[in-house]
Amino acid sequence: MNTDCPLPIATEQTIRLGHGSGGELTQRLLRQFVLPHIDNAWLQQGHDSAALPIGNTQIAFTTDSFVITPLFFPGGDIGELAVFGTVNDLAMSGARPLYLSCSLILEEGLEMDILQQVMASMGRAATATGVQLVTGDTKVVERGKGDGLYINTAGIGLVESLQTITPQAIEVGDAILLSGDIGRHGIAVMAQREGLEFGFPLASDCAPLHQPVQALLNNGIDVHCLRDLTRGGLATAMVELAETAGLEFWISEDHIPISESVQGACELLGLDALYAANEGRFIAFVPAAEVDSALNLLAAHPVSREACVIGRVNAVAPRDRGRVIIENTLGCERLLERLPGEQLPRIC
């Protein structure tokens, strides 16, 4: 009987969709092809936005591109996402978001009505988050060379708190807080995109996060690190932070809130909610002694009303650094990995 295995496939020579998933392939792309040419101290912080000293003040600076299809989905649209996404990246540096740019890449043939709706949505989102879209650019590409509409936003915010909020500031003994249930955005968009109907409501969690973050900082919570959960989901964010911080995180699967709708859709499609995208959730690292006050503050904001503790930062031997342990409901522990490429639905 032949027991040979298939031939190995050589490392990819071209860009795959998986390189944009925010997981292991994205990391490898950055390490091998991007960072070596442009590396500097701010990139090395490995944070959602760069905290830059300018004069006597500290500015947070970030950028994000939005290429989502469909443009409108249950719970949000690309315009809202483009504002909230950048606002959230600024908020994760502890900054008060102030000004955003808006670059539009439009595909020939896009209906004016759609552009109108998206821009109206951006305007509303900016008003709601107290930011202004102060500069921008518009380009049009030939039909077939874009998905109707891409948006890039960059943003700057003012860092008013004296705390250093970076992965490097995470300390052994910190509690890990999660601001709410996970996986809504990824599953809702996938369902909409593929025309899947589950018989229960699924909506994106798309929301701005600056208010609960400001509440923590303004009330003196000693926040060590913040990270909003986006592509790659909770699992990927945790692994990235553990590696950057060089520490071991321990989390409990039982404590991670997942709505019944998301869980149901994941069960049907063979997906893991730990890896599903979010657009309105974050994790916070705070000293264990400040957990209760932090949770009370978060509970006052609708977007983080269900915030909870999901784990802690462990003291470990040097060889165990940079890993995330997840304990399941039976008390069995396993290692958590970042998303390898794309999450693909299973066959049966």
Partner: protein, 367 residues
């Protein structure tokens, strides 16, 4: 979630694990056929709750892993054609062929659509009358009825631009091949509940009798799996061997008559080559002559090439339960989910992917 939470309940799981601990007095080796069960075992860490002397061996029940290199290469060559829209389940896109995978074809401009239901491929064919639409129909008895229905509807709707690349596998002949192998170490089997929900389990009686092995039909939740293991252990301890259905909430002895009728109408049994294992007689399905107009192999007159895997990875031995994933020198080193050397590391049901993804903290340093 109803009908799921009950079967993941901590207290009941611990009770059942305790019962297995008390019942097993000798070392036993049980194979779970289905990759879905393998993943549940690894995800919930069930092996940690069982007696050390009880060994769970992971079977060949992963449709992605067993699809032959020849079929993958056919799929890749069809998907590369400018006139073809290639429709596939997502899992198959990362499976390595001889020189590339479907994701590479997609990156190079191939029109590959990921499907959730094979019926969707019919709509794609209707909307693109000037293109050839090929459905990659892979899987076990579980996905075959949906593919059979798709074939019937394609004929009814008169879709001249639609064809199917069939690569179906049947479970019982694989169990037979494993039992008949002189190297076999398996003393009992957990049969896959979803396969039996289609086929029933009448055809397992002869297997159980002739090879003196207990075969227990069970599901995919932790409680189902432990319950199946307990049933196996009880039979083994008492020197018995028979077919037991422990998944009665989904499986009837006769299976699903409607689905079986569709299978019978569209497919006939044929020999099939299992990747890493080789040919197994009567273990596949091909389209009956009445449906041969839908056969992509015939429509594109592609010649099959013989299997020529020779990279030295252990997938065949792993899928027959002769080796464990961590016995492979490449496991977790050269071979990882983002860079798989073999199909068992690709699929969400592959044994290597399950071992890698759910590896314990204490073992991670070894890789």
């Amino acid at each position: 979630m109803r009908y799921i939470d009950e079967y993941r309940q901590k207290q009941s799981i611990r009770q059942l694990a305790g019962e297995i601990q008390r019942t097993a007095t000798k070392p036993w080796r049980i194979m779970e056929i289905c990759g879905g069960q393998t993943h549940a075992i690894m995800k919930y860490g069930l092996q940690q709750l069982l007696p050390e002397s009880l060994e769970l061996i992971h079977g060949p029940g992963c449709p992605v892993c067993v699809t032959s290199l020849e079929t993958m290469d056919l799929a890749i060559s069809l998907a590369s054609r400018k006139d073809v829209i290639f429709c596939s389940f997502g899992d198959m896109l990362r499976v390595p062929g001889s020189s590339q995978d479907l994701l590479a074809v997609k990156a190079a401009g191939g029109d590959i659509r990921t499907l959730y239901s094979p019926l969707h491929a019919l709509d794609v064919a209707e909307q693109n009358p000037d293109r050839e639409v090929v459905l990659f129909a892979i899987g076990f008895e579980t996905t075959a009825p949906a593919h059979a229905l798709t074939a019937c509807l394609a004929r009814e709707r008169g879709l001249a631009n639609f064809s199917i690349l069939v690569s179906h596998f049947l479970v019982p002949p694989a169990i037979e091949a494993i039992c008949a192998s002189p190297k076999s170490r398996i003393q009992a089997f957990l049969a896959a509940g979803h396969v039996c929900s289609i086929t029933g389990y009448d055809n397992y009686h002869e297997l159980s009798r002739s090879h003196c092995v207990p075969i227990v039909v069970t599901g995919f939740e932790p409680l189902d799996i432990l319950d199946g293991i307990l049933a196996c252990v009880r039979q083994l301890e008492q020197g018995e061997h028979r077919v037991e259905n422990r998944y009665a909430r989904a499986v009837k002895a006769e299976g699903n008559p409607q689905a079986r009728a569709r299978l019978e109408e569209v497919f006939e049994i044929s020999a099939q080559t299992w990747r890493g294992v080789g040919p197994i007689p009567f273990s596949g399905l091909t389209l009956r002559p009445a449906f041969s107009a839908l056969d992509a192999r015939k429509r594109f007159s592609i010649e099959s090439r013989p299997e020529s895997d020779n990279s030295g990875c252990l997938s065949g031995a792993i899928m027959q339960g002769l080796k464990k994933p961590h016995d492979c020198p490449h496991f977790g080193k050269r071979c990882r989910p983002e860079h798989p050397l073999g199909a068992p590391m690709v699929s969400s049901e592959g044994a290597c992917a399950a071992y890698y993804r759910y590896r314990k903290r204490s073992t991670a340093d070894e890789y």
